[in-house]
Symmetry: C2
Subunit: 208 residues, 2 copies
DNA sequence: AATTGTGAATTGATTCACAGCT
DNA sequence: AGCTGTGAATCAATTCACAATT
């Protein structure tokens, strides 16, 4: 599953640093210290430095990091250079909501197609997104054809495992799973879980 | 910030257990062992038992837990009994996507109103959701009026801190923040962070 | 016989503290 | 003088192991 020995949480934060560096780069900032960058991201400077340690050594002591160099370095490890194609499976409420949310594209991901068991029913709902809605029967063929490596899962809980089996078999290596189902997948497949209801519910414990 | 001494992650998992127990209850299952419940949720039995330990003692040794009793217990600690009102601020792409996603209601949360700086522009986009879209100027008044304790933040990054200040001042105690901004809030306010782009990006590290 | 509840052990993540560069 | 890089120390979370209970 792991590509190198970078802990999962560190990978997550590296992605945070990358976003921030991009902004600095746009503002033509040349150098940044671990302290400044860490504050911008909401972590401690030591943690930032430790995380960067997983990637290599890029700083100059006494000075800080070159924004450009550091960006390139993290981007090189983390980031797909080109637009990464993603499929979305399950065009229900949440699925079509995510389709109409265009926010992934500018982060380097493109939802190139969506799939649903009953594509006609939902076609109009998601029509404005511009993403083609296909029948789930074509899922495997499509993933193989376009060599899609990543998928967003927004199917109902009871369908999630089956869909996961199918797409993994077809070659998907990473899944962003919005269903509450706990998915069984081979070790080399990674999953991130997002459960919006639980995010809210676990917050509500703290309100009085 | 913490209400009792239950660690944040344990609270999150308790919410997971609760969902699962609800399902068991619907299926009229009477008892469940830590092993079975843990598997359903995707954690180890010992962790489940340790988590339950934060809440109290409900099991009978040799037998397991009464689904009903355990449900009541966790629900009592975690759950608002009645529908918890929530406001959503920022009706852009993601905001309107979440509005049209109806999934929160059946989990005990109701988005009772949405707010935007330019409500007219976006009104039609989110019209079908049935949630009224108001002008941000009325935010404070509204939160006070209805004593809203929770908010979903889907404003652009540069507006996030300002909105946070305003809603916290008005009485909001918990925020589900979808913006990439790192928010400064008083200790007694809790925040959950969801960054969909980063979820995807941190996955992409593991694909080849 | 089965299964909980929990103190102790372990593992993992974070932070400290400071040596090493520039 | 300032700031990185990292081994050592600390802190938090998870898992083990087993006594207690039905």
């Amino acid at each position: 599953m792991e590509k190198l020995a970078i802990p999962r949480k560190a990978v997550y934060r590296l992605s945070l640093y990358l976003r921030c560096l991009q902004k600095l780069r746009n503002n033509e900032v040349e150098t940044v210290s671990s302290e400044a960058l860490a504050k911008a991201v909401g972590v401690k400077p030591t943690q930032l430095r430790k995380d960067l340690g997983y990637v290599g050594q890029f700083g100059t002591r006494g000075l800080g990091y070159s924004v450009e160099t550091l960006f390139e370095a993290i981007h090189g490890v983390m980031g797909r250079t080109s637009l990464q194609p993603v499929v979305l499976v399950g065009v229900g409420n949440l699925g079509s909501a995510l389709l109409s949310y265009g926010g992934f594209r500018k982060e380097g991901f493109e939802i190139i197609a969506a799939f649903d068991k009953a594509p006609d029913e939902v076609k109009k709902r998601a029509a404005r997104s511009g993403v083609p809605i296909n029948d789930s029967r074509d899922l495997v063929k499509y993933i193989r054809n376009y060599q899609v490596k990543m998928a967003i899962l927004t199917v109902p809980e009871n369908a999630a495992q089956e869909v996961a089996n199918v797409i993994v078999e077809a070659g998907v290596q990473a899944i962003l799973n919005f269903s509450p189902a706990v998915l069984q997948v081979p070790d080399e497949v990674v999953i991130n879980h997002v459960n919006l209801a639980v995010e809210l519910e676990s917050l509500s414990y703290f309100v009085d």
